[in-house]
């Protein structure tokens, strides 16, 4: 049996029904655990004071905002190339979740920027490309909404997703190309010596895991809903045809 079988809605529904409770529980545990540990179990930073704790929301949210787009890109490509409906619907389902993460990252980033940089916002390359990504999320969702025929909508949003990926990647790697930005570089990469201190690092890992699992939960849930909605409209159309 091949992986593609899960692209069959029926198979997907069965699998996701079984997986969903586990993922949900794991997400809840990681999030509660990680955030509590981060907020209450770590010392204040000597320089930043307690504002450093925004890191437990900001970094995972920003990461997942980008990862969600990458996931949508993969799902869109699968749809465009192999035309598996579940894949298209999963991309559709992920967009609002990704948008929410994006907004969280923007809000927490702005809150953090005020004490750190003395401003809510700056036209730093990472920040700019991230803002553009936010707008892309909006456009992507709006495009899904605007097209009547679901397959056409999936095709068009697929094309848009590919184009938007430029900005998803830029907001992750822009800091590497331009060093004049304000924003933190890749301080978390696993092989770096200049990692943040371990006390912050481990709870952050748990939070990131929590956000990944939360994303998975929400996407599974929303994909199931999308599949049902699609089935419903198809059945209604069938009824009308008599």
């Amino acid at each position: 049996m091949s992986l593609w079988e899960y692209a069959n809605p029926q198979k997907f529904m069965q699998l996701s029904r079984r997986a969903l409770p586990w993922v949900t529980v794991a997400a809840t545990l990681c999030l509660i655990g990680g955030l509590t540990w981060g907020f209450f179990g770590t010392p204040d930073d000597y320089k930043q004071g307690s504002t450093v704790k925004i890191i437990y929301l900001h970094v995972p949210a920003a990461m997942m905002a980008i990862n969600a787009w990458v996931m949508m890109l993969v799902a869109s490509l699968v749809w465009l190339i192999r035309r598996h409906h579940v894949s298209a619907l999963a991309a559709k389902a992920a967009a609002p979740v990704g948008l929410t993460f994006t907004l969280i990252a923007l809000a927490t980033g702005a809150l953090w920027g005020q004490p750190m940089w003395g401003t809510w916002w700056a036209w730093d390359p990472r920040l700019t490309s991230f803002l553009i990504l936010t707008l892309f999320y909006l456009g992507y969702i709006a495009l899904w909404q605007a097209v009547d025929d679901p397959d056409t909508a999936a095709d068009l949003t697929g094309v848009l997703c590919i184009v938007g990926s430029v900005f998803a990647l830029l907001s992750r790697y822009a800091v590497n190309f331009w060093n004049q930005g304000l924003h933190q570089g890749a301080s978390l990469s696993l092989d770096k010596k200049e990692n943040v201190a371990d006390v912050f690092w481990f709870p952050l890992l748990v939070c990131i895991a929590g956000f990944v699992l939360l994303f998975l939960t929400l996407v599974l849930l929303r994909t199931r809903t999308e599949i049902r909605a699609r089935r419903l409209s198809a059945l209604l159309a069938r009824e009308r045809m008599g």
């Binding site: 700019t128 707008l135 892309f136 456009g139 709006a142 495009l143 605007a146 056409t152 068009l156 094309v159």
Partner: protein, 218 residues
Amino acid sequence: MIALLLRDMRLAMRAGGGFGLGLAFFLLVAVLVPLGVGPESATLAKIAPGILWVGALLACLLSLDRIFALDFEDGSLDLLVTAPIPLEGVVAVKALAHWTVTGLPLTLVAPVLGVLLNLPEAGYFWLVVSLGLGTPALSVIGAFGAALTVGLKRGGLLLSLLVLPLYVPTLIFGAEVVKRGADGMATATPLALLAGITAGAAALLPFASAAAIRINLR
């Protein structure tokens, strides 16, 4: 392809659609902003680069939906898709025609409007250079947005929404060039970025646009 370019330009001239409208709009912005903001020359000089670039961008945006919508409505687009020229070429030529009737005239009249907005003298050269380098990107990106939304309900609104994020970098770097130029600072970096955006967009987006049109015509 040249026939298509000529036709699109001729249509724009005759119907006043792209050509006049974009230009008129640009003028409008330059005339209305001092009226609205007040005639204080220091303030105007400060905002001139930004306002001129925003005006140019809006003027382009305004005429975008005509790139494909008219041809879609009267069936020309169906015929062009089945014609013996590659659709990518059609898209590129239509973006070029759009630029010739909006971006190019905008670039040429911009210095005049700079006067209205009291742009510092050192800025004129950079205004023309940055518009000349940046407006092609606006047309190519706009053609992509127009291709995604051709024939859709709510097309106009969606078009702005889809195109806006792609326009932001061009706007930022374009206005930056003029600002730095007006202040006598080095302009090489934003200028290079502007050129990069234009080149990248012109090289890649026509393919995405052609795919979008094929999908939308179904």
